[in-house]
Chain length 148, copies 2
DNA sequence: ACTATTTAGTTCGATATCGCACTAACTGGA
DNA sequence: TCCAGTTAGTGCGATATCGAACTAAATAGT
């Protein structure tokens, strides 16, 4: 493999990693103490997609081991942002539902992140960022398919 | 803030986060058991930039708390991939140096990642990825400046 | 020179991630 | 109707991350 190519890819993943790290800590700085990005992400996912999903399905959606999802969900349960109900279709399983508190937590969190997003939106062309999305999505999909 | 804009930015950071997660686990799958991405990154940094830096300087370069760097370095020390020497310019401080084992570890690690990088290099236009770098670097630099 | 403040690094405790192993429940084949 | 194998979720132990508090050394102000 070409040395320049390797270098480009290394830099690419390096930039990606740093931005991910910075955005994560920026988001967590806005969340109530004790809540992390995964907590928000799960609640957000339940709003955007739909609630009532099983923990395993969530673990797969976020590509984390199910033990990690168990842990994340227990934090949300402790704070009553979600609740569990039995899965009528499978006695081993559960379903995860948003509470009112969970929905308002999400809205509040999104609102609190607005200043940071606005800062980026005003300093960068949103169109330019939007143009990155297809490439990023392709790369993400490819890597996702590779992992196994 | 415009709802569409918010959505674009959310998706952007979401894609970034997923790619970071996937690339991290892909890399770690290639590393010797017990070594993580930060371990590799530090060794790689010492080769690319130069060794003999202080732990604090490394912590700042990677934007992690110094306690995290202490922990990462202790893993590298245990495996004799780096060694510490006193800092002649500051009695409180240390300097971190690569060992021969550290250098060959880095080369071996890079070699072992080649298949994965090649897969991406052949399925995507490297030029296209290279074009993303300036934008990503700008965003990274902006966010970096924001955090405080 | 002396003291207060700052700085480099570590220790400690809390929490997140995640592999392994376990239980309970479902499924498929005789 | 059994039983073997699979699947959903959890408990536990190991390690990573990181804030708070500490020690030792440097520095700044007087």
């Amino acid at each position: 493999m070409d040395n320049d190519t390797r270098h480009v890819l290394f830099r690419f993943f390096n930039e990606i990693g740093i931005i991910a790290q910075l955005s994560r800590s920026a988001m967590e700085a806005r969340l109530p103490k004790g809540l992390t990005l995964p907590h928000f992400s799960v609640v957000n996912h339940l709003v955007r997609v739909r609630d009532g999903q099983t923990p395993l399905k969530l673990a797969k959606a976020f590509q984390v081991p199910k033990t990690t999802m168990t842990n994340t969900l227990s934090g949300l349960l402790d704070r009553k942002l979600v609740e569990m109900r039995p899965n009528p279709e499978d006695g081993r399983s559960k379903t995860v539902w948003l509470t009112e508190k969970g929905r308002s937590f999400r809205e509040e969190a999104i609102r609190s992140m607005d200043p940071d997003l606005t800062a980026i939106g005003t300093n960068f062309s949103t169109d330019q960022i939007a143009e990155l999305l297809p490439v990023l999505a392709e790369i993400r999909a490819f890597m996702d398919a590779q992992r196994d």
